[in-house]
């Protein structure tokens, strides 16, 4: 804290208008003070709203606390919350639902996004206009998007079933009421919303490839296929991994869209880990238990991200 005090004393000095040229040493000191003064508030806020709650969550995860009974005696239960979470079969069902959602949404987004980026990179007339138009879905509020897809998926008056039938597909299905279809409904909506994100990233990747590589390949009379596998794909790979990293973090945390679209249903087939966490914490009020679940989820996201970052570093070095 003493460094902050130095910063506090340095402010008035710095606030004077047109002072004489300060001494070299004094200026160095004021730089350091200024650095702490500038970084301090951010660090303090992050400590108060991130580190302190994190520690609190860790502490709660070892108790049987329930937020709807604040006056009850606090019972320390040791690691039993953790063992209960890990032994709970429902959690593994949620984790499977999360894995299904993550794998398919990210795969589809990467494939579609890469395809679109390759097409847009052909620089046809109006390509920049259409790249902006395609971006619109990802800027919208996911919760509101989820609400309206509920309307589109409605089998009677929704347009989704009618569009599918119009393009020759089957009729008379219920996207959100069917235990096999509704996991795909959330994949579909997420893909619709976030494909543009991947497209934008990969388009930047494609544009960063130096043209001389292709010119050299041209001289060697390489086929289009060879050029794609030997130049395009390896050069874009770091961008693909970066897209994977961002989508992984975001979709693992995903709550708003699915909460509105299916609220975990029907039954619990679309109950992603974060939806389950909300039910445990804010509907059943099992605060201690859900804190343990929260910590496990955070560790999982953090671990997955670290692995992806390592992979990204390896890909970049090549």
């Amino acid at each position: 804290m003493s460094t902050l005090d130095i910063g506090g004393r340095a402010v008035p000095a710095a606030g004077h208008l047109a002072p004489p040229m300060p001494l070299k040493r004094l200026q160095g000191l004021s730089d350091r003070a200024l650095a702490w003064l500038f970084v301090g508030p951010t660090i303090l806020l992050l400590l108060a709203f991130n580190i302190f709650p994190l520690i609190w969550t860790i502490a709660l995860s070892f108790t049987g606390y329930r937020a709807n009974r604040p006056n009850a005696d606090l019972v320390w239960v040791g690691g039993s919350n953790y063992s209960r979470v890990l032994a709970d079969e429902d959690i593994w069902a949620n984790m499977q639902a999360t894995a299904h959602f993550l794998c398919w949404s990210i795969t589809l987004e990467l494939l579609l996004g890469f395809g679109l980026a390759l097409l847009l990179n052909k620089r046809f007339k109006g390509h920049s206009f259409f790249s902006t138009v395609i971006l619109l879905p990802m800027m919208l509020a996911p919760a509101v998007v989820g609400t309206f897809w509920k309307y589109f998926f409605e089998p009677q008056y929704g347009i989704f079933n009618h569009l599918v039938a119009f393009f020759g597909g089957p009729a008379g299905f219920t996207m959100l009421g069917d235990t096999t279809l509704s996991p795909w409904a959330i994949v579909l909506v997420d893909t619709w919303m976030w494909t543009p994100y991947v497209m934008l990233l990969l388009l930047a990747g494609l544009r960063s490839i130096p043209p001389y590589l292709y010119e050299a390949a041209e001289i060697d009379r390489a086929s289009e296929w060879t050029k794609f596998w030997r130049i395009t794909l390896p050069m874009v790979l770091p961008f693909i991994v970066l897209a994977l990293l961002f989508r992984l973090i975001e979709n693992f945390k995903m709550f708003d869209l699915v909460d509105q679209l299916t609220n975990g249903g029907p039954g619990s087939v679309t109950e992603l880990a974060s939806i389950h966490l909300k039910r445990e914490a804010f509907e059943k009020w099992r605060t201690g238990y859900s804190s343990a679940l929260a910590i496990i989820l955070f560790v999982a996201i953090y671990g997955l991200s670290l692995v992806t970052v390592r992979f990204l570093d390896r890909v970049k070095q090549r």
């Binding site: 710095a14 200026q27 730089d31 200024l34 650095a35 702490w36 500038f38 970084v39 508030p41 951010t42 806020l45 992050l46 709203f49 991130n50 302190f52 709650p53 994190l54 969550t57 709660l60 937020a67 679109l116 097409l119 052909k122 620089r123 046809f124 007339k125 259409f130 395609i134 971006l135 800027m139 919208l140 509020a141 996911p142 919760a143 509101v144 609400t147 309206f148 008056y157 619709w192 543009p196 990233l201 043209p211 292709y214 010119e215 041209e218 970066l242 945390k253 709550f255 708003d256 974060s274 966490l277 909300k278 914490a281 804010f282 804190s291 929260a294 910590i295 989820l297 955070f298 953090y302």
Partner: protein, 319 residues
């Protein structure tokens, strides 16, 4: 777009015209398909509740402003005799309400929720950009001990699932009386946006040559004055871009708003899905609310399009 006109030195690599046509058709096809939901929302907002749940769905329906009227008002049903005994409606919207055999009961809460979104969005954006600018400048120019670790720590705060943070924040806010207050949400959104703000702005600051400030300091400015008078104007575009990204996040945020607010400080995202009419959800009113809610973001997206990539990757990719 003939190959000759292309100045990028890609002459022999220019895609053939046929490839360009094919790519164009596929992309336009995707764009149209992906815009159907958006267009449908806007169209629904101009329909009557009956048309919105017609089976099969109508492609075109008689336009109506009932959705917007219902969005901003509460109404109550009256009997035909009672309706006939009333004096004629004084405003156009009262007329629309009477056509549904109802009378106006008062304003709805939508305007309040929208205002909350604006207040909380702008409040948190202002704070996180101000704090982010200071921190980013320090990280960009000064030797801060443990700089890389601090920066990574700031980024990693974004990995916490919002629900996980919400548990202790809920308890903390309940203890200090910040539950369901504007200040509570403003502070929380400020903190969530700080990681984006610091990372993006650091990138922008790094791009401003140090020589500018050094020249100013040789002229007798202090470091602080040089920061205010030289660096800030240079960073204006970056600050504006960052501000818009923070605003969009706060505007769209749902999980914290749902769990930490219930009335006074509730923002639009948790409110819009709960708009109910007679006999179920009032889709045209919800569509109207959604249209008004999405409009600012659509405008910002078009304004931001050149910096979008940078914003969504936390400054990892600059163009």
């Amino acid at each position: 777009m003939s190959a000759v006109l292309h100045p990028s030195g890609r002459g022999p690599l220019e895609p053939t015209r046929r490839a360009q046509w094919l790519a164009g058709i596929l992309v336009v096809g995707y764009a149209i398909l992906s815009l159907i939901p958006l267009v449908w929302i806007v169209m629904t907002s101009f329909r009557t509740p009956q048309d919105a749940i017609a089976y099969p769905p109508k492609m075109l329906a008689e336009p109506s402003l009932i959705g917007y009227v219902n969005l901003f008002t509460t109404r109550s049903r009256v009997s035909a005799e009672e309706l006939a005994s009333l004096p004629p409606p004084t405003t156009w919207y009262e007329g629309l309400v009477r056509d549904q055999q109802m009378i106006l009961a008062g304003p709805s809460r939508f305007a309040d929720r929208y205002l909350n979104s604006v207040l909380i969005g702008f409040g948190s954006t202002l704070l996180s950009v101000a704090l982010g600018t200071l921190a980013a400048y320090a990280f960009s120019r000064f030797r801060v001990p443990g700089k890389d670790d601090l920066l990574f720590f700031i980024l990693s705060t974004r990995m916490m699932p919002p629900i996980a943070v919400a548990i202790p924040v809920y308890l903390m806010y309940r203890a200090v009386g910040l539950s369901d207050t504007h200040l509570g949400l403003i502070l929380l959104y400020t903190v969530v946006n700080l990681s984006l703000s610091v990372w993006l702005l650091k990138g922008f600051m790094d791009e401003i040559p140090r020589e500018y400030e050094e020249a100013a300091m040789v002229d007798g400015y202090t470091r602080f004055q040089a920061f205010v008078k030289v660096v800030l104007p240079q960073a204006a575009t970056g600050i504006a871009t960052t501000a818009i990204f923070c605003l969009i996040f706060a505007w769209n945020e749902y999980a914290f708003a749902l769990l930490l607010t219930s009335g006074t400080a509730q923002t639009s995202p948790p409110f819009i899905p709960t708009i109910i009419g007679e006999g179920g959800l009032d889709w045209p009113a919800m569509a109207a609310g959604t249209t008004l809610f999405l409009l600012p973001v659509l405008i910002f997206t078009v304004l931001l399009r050149k910096h979008l990539l940078r914003g969504i990757t936390f400054g990892a990719i600059r163009k």
